[in-house]
C-alpha cells in the first residue's frame, strides 16, 4: 500500500516511513502564534530556558485584537512585542505590516508546499491548499516547538474527497466546503486529514482553495490538503522565501474513506446557527425572509482580494439596505492596497460599506462589529457557534461573499441572482 499525502510529508519530517496511527516527533518547517496564543507560548518557552530553534521559521502575528481593542489586549500585544524585540524575530507583524495570519503567511511565501506547519491557531490548516501538512495546536505545543523545532503528532488517517463537474457561477470554494461539512458533520473528519481532489478543485483559484482548506477544522479535521498543480506553483514561485519540496499522494494510498461530490448539484449555501454543518441552499433561505442587522465580509476564510472583488461585483451601483451595517475587512495590507487601486473599495464604500483594518475583528467576537442580543449577521467567516460574534443571544449565518453582499442589498438573506437581475 502506498502513502497518503499526509503520510508522505510526515514520513519526511519524522525521518522514517510512518503510517496512520503512529506517534511521531516531527520536524517543524514553520511555526506561528498570534496575539491571543503567543503570550502563553512565550511563558512556556521561557520556562524551558532554551534557544529558539530557528528564528527564520517563527512568526508572531498580532492580528486578533488589533489595533488594540482595550488595555488588556494592548498589554498582551506589548508582552509579545517585547519578546520579539528581545529575540530579534524577523517575522513579527503588527501595525501596517499585519494581516490576518492565514492570509499573510502564504502571501509572503513563508509557508510552502511539502512543509509541516504548526500554528497556535485552529485555522492553520489553511496552508493545506499549498500541499503542506498544516495543523492547529495549542500554545504549549507552540512554546515547546519554538525550543525544540519539533512536535508530537499522531499520524492521521485520511478522508479523500473528490469534486467533479462544473460550478454554478455563484458557487465558490466556500460552498463546496460547507456542502462537505453539511454532509459529513462537524466531527465527520475528527482526528483525520482531508485530501481534496478532482477537476472541480483544479479549476478553483488559489483564493477559493485557501477557503476550503481553512474550514477543514470545521469538520474536525487535523489538516485539509490539496495536490500541488500549476496554479500552486504559479502562486508560490514568486513568493517563496526558501526552498520547498512538492510531494504527492501515491495512487495506491490507503484511505479511510473516499467520497465523491457532483459539483453541478451544489448551490450557494448558508450555514444557519449554531453549527457550520447546519446548511441550507441560499435559494431556500432567501424565501424565509430572514432579516439581518449586519454583514461581515473578511476573515482568514473569505477576506482575500477575489472575495472583495466578488462582493463588489454584486454591490456595483447598488446600496446596502437601510438599517444594515456592512463591514469589510481586507485580510492583509496587500489585499487592501490592491482593492484600493482597482476601485473595489470605492465600489464598496459607495454602496455603503464600512472598510476596516486587516484584523480578525468580529469573526471571533473580538471587536469592530460585535452583535447585541437578538441581532443577526450574515458573515463570510468560518464559525457560527453560540456567542461567536458577540452576545450569546445573537445569530451568525455563514455564506460566500456573493451571498453576503446580496443579503446586504436586500436586508435579508438573499441569493445573488435576486440582486443581479434587479
Amino acid at each position: 500500500m502506498g502513502l497518503t499525502l499526509s503520510e508522505k510529508i510526515l514520513s519526511e519530517k519524522a525521518g522514517r516511513k510512518v503510517r496512520a496511527g503512529d506517534f511521531i516527533q516531527a520536524k517543524v518547517d514553520f511555526l506561528l502564534m498570534n496575539d491571543i496564543t503567543a503570550p502563553i507560548s512565550i511563558k512556556v518557552f521561557r520556562e524551558l530556558d532554551a534557544k529558539i530553534f530557528d528564528k527564520s521559521r517563527v512568526a508572531i502575528i498580532l492580528d486578533h485584537f488589533t489595533p488594540n481593542k482595550d488595555i488588556k489586549a494592548a498589554e498582551q500585544c506589548k508582552f509579545s512585542r517585547e519578546f520579539a524585540e528581545e529575540k530579534k524575530l524577523p517575522y513579527f507583524f503588527e501595525g501596517g505590516k499585519v494581516g490576518v495570519e492565514h492570509c499573510l503567511l502564504p502571501e509572503l511565501g513563508l509557508v510552502l508546499p511539502g512543509d509541516l506547519v504548526i500554528g497556535a491557531d485552529s485555522h492553520t490548516c489553511t496552508y493545506g491548499a499549498l500541499g503542506a501538512f498544516a495543523t492547529g495546536v495549542g500554545s504549549t505545543d507552540a512554546g515547546v516547538a519554538m525550543a525544540t523545532g519539533d512536535v508530537w503528532l499522531r499520524v492521521p488517517e485520511t478522508l479523500k474527497l473528490i469534486y467533479e463537474g462544473e460550478r454554478d457561477p455563484w458557487v465558490m470554494g466556500k460552498d463546496l466546503i460547507l456542502h462537505t461539512i453539511g454532509d459529513i458533520g462537524v466531527s465527520g473528519a475528527l482526528y483525520m486529514a482531508m485530501e481534496f481532489h478532482g477537476d472541480a478543485i483544479s479549476s478553483l483559484p488559489m483564493s477559493d482553495r485557501f477557503t476550503m482548506s481553512n474550514m477543514a477544522i470545521e469538520a474536525g479535521a487535523k489538516a485539509g490538503l490539496m495536490p500541488v498543480d500549476e496554479k500552486t506553483i504559479e502562486y508560490v514561485k514568486e513568493r517563496a522565501k526558501r526552498n520547498y519540496q512538492v510531494m504527492e499522494a501515491d495512487d495506491n494510498a490507503n484511505y479511510r474513506k473516499v467520497k465523491k461530490y457532483k459539483v453541478e448539484k451544489i448551490e450557494p449555501l448558508v450555514a444557519f446557527p449554531h453549527l457550520p454543518s447546519n446548511v441550507k441552499e441560499a435559494r431556500n433561505a432567501a424565501r424565509m425572509n430572514i432579516k439581518i442587522n449586519q454583514v461581515f465580509i473578511g476573515s482568514c476564510t473569505n477576506g482575500r482580494y477575489e472575495d472583495l472583488k466578488t462582493a463588489a461585483e454584486v454591490l456595483q451601483g447598488r446600496e446596502v439596505a437601510e438599517h444594515v451595517r456592512l463591514i469589510v475587512l481586507p485580510c492583509s495590507p496587500s489585499v487592501y492596497l490592491r482593492a484600493l487601486k482597482n476601485g473595489v473599495l470605492e465600489t464598496l464604500i459607495s454602496a455603503g460599506a464600512v472598510i476596516g483594518p486587516p484584523s480578525c475583528g468580529p469573526c471571533l467576537g473580538g471587536h469592530l462589529g460585535i452583535l447585541a442580543a437578538g441581532e443577526r449577521t450574515i458573515a463570510t467567516t468560518n464559525r457560527n457557534f453560540v456567542g461567536r460574534m458577540g452576545h450569546p443571544k445573537s445569530e451568525v449565518y455563514l455564506a460566500n461573499p456573493a451571498v453576503a453582499a446580496a443579503s446586504a442589498v436586500m436586508g435579508r438573506i438573499a441569493h445573488p441572482e435576486e440582486v443581479m437581475r434587479s
Binding site: A14, I36, E47, G136, T140, G366, R383, G387
Partner: protein, 175 residues
Amino acid sequence: MILRGRAWKYGDNVDTDVIIPARYLNTSQPEELALHVLEDLDPEFRSKMEKGDIIVAGHNFGCGSSREHAPIAIKASGVGCVVAKSFARIFYRNAINIGLPIIEAPEAVERIKSGDILEIDLENGEIRNLSSGESFRFKAFPPFLMEILRAGGLVEYTKRRLRGDNREKGSRNTR
C-alpha cells in the same frame, strides 16, 4: 490516581467559544479565565460546581478554536476531569499537554446523569457511578501520551528531554 466528584452533563459539540468566550481572551491568567468557564453554555455552572466535579459531555467536546484558554479555564475552575464520547483533536492534545485528565468513554456518558457522583480510577481505567452502582471501563492512553501525562505535562516532559534524561520515541530532530 482516584478522582471523585459530581457529574455535570452536556450535549454534543461543546465548542471552545462557549467554554471560554473570546471576549475574555484578553488575558491568559488561569484564575481570571476560570471565572467565566462554560459561561455561554451554562451561566450557572461556575456558581453551582464544586472543586473536583466532573464535566460529562457528548461527541466532539472542545471543537473550534485552538485556544488553550479553554482547558486552562476548566482546570483552574477546579474541575477534576472531563469525560466525553469523543474530543476535538486540538482540545485533546491541549488537555494532555497541560495535564487536565480527559477520558473518552461513550458508553459511560450514555448512562451517567447530571448530578451522579462519580469515582474515576485513572490508572486502572474505570469509572464507577456511585449513584447508580454501575461501572465502566475505558481505554488506557497510548504509551507515548502516558509518558507525557506521567511527566506532568508537555513542559516537564520537554525539560527532561532537553536535559537528555529520556529517549523519546521517534528521532530526536536537530536542525
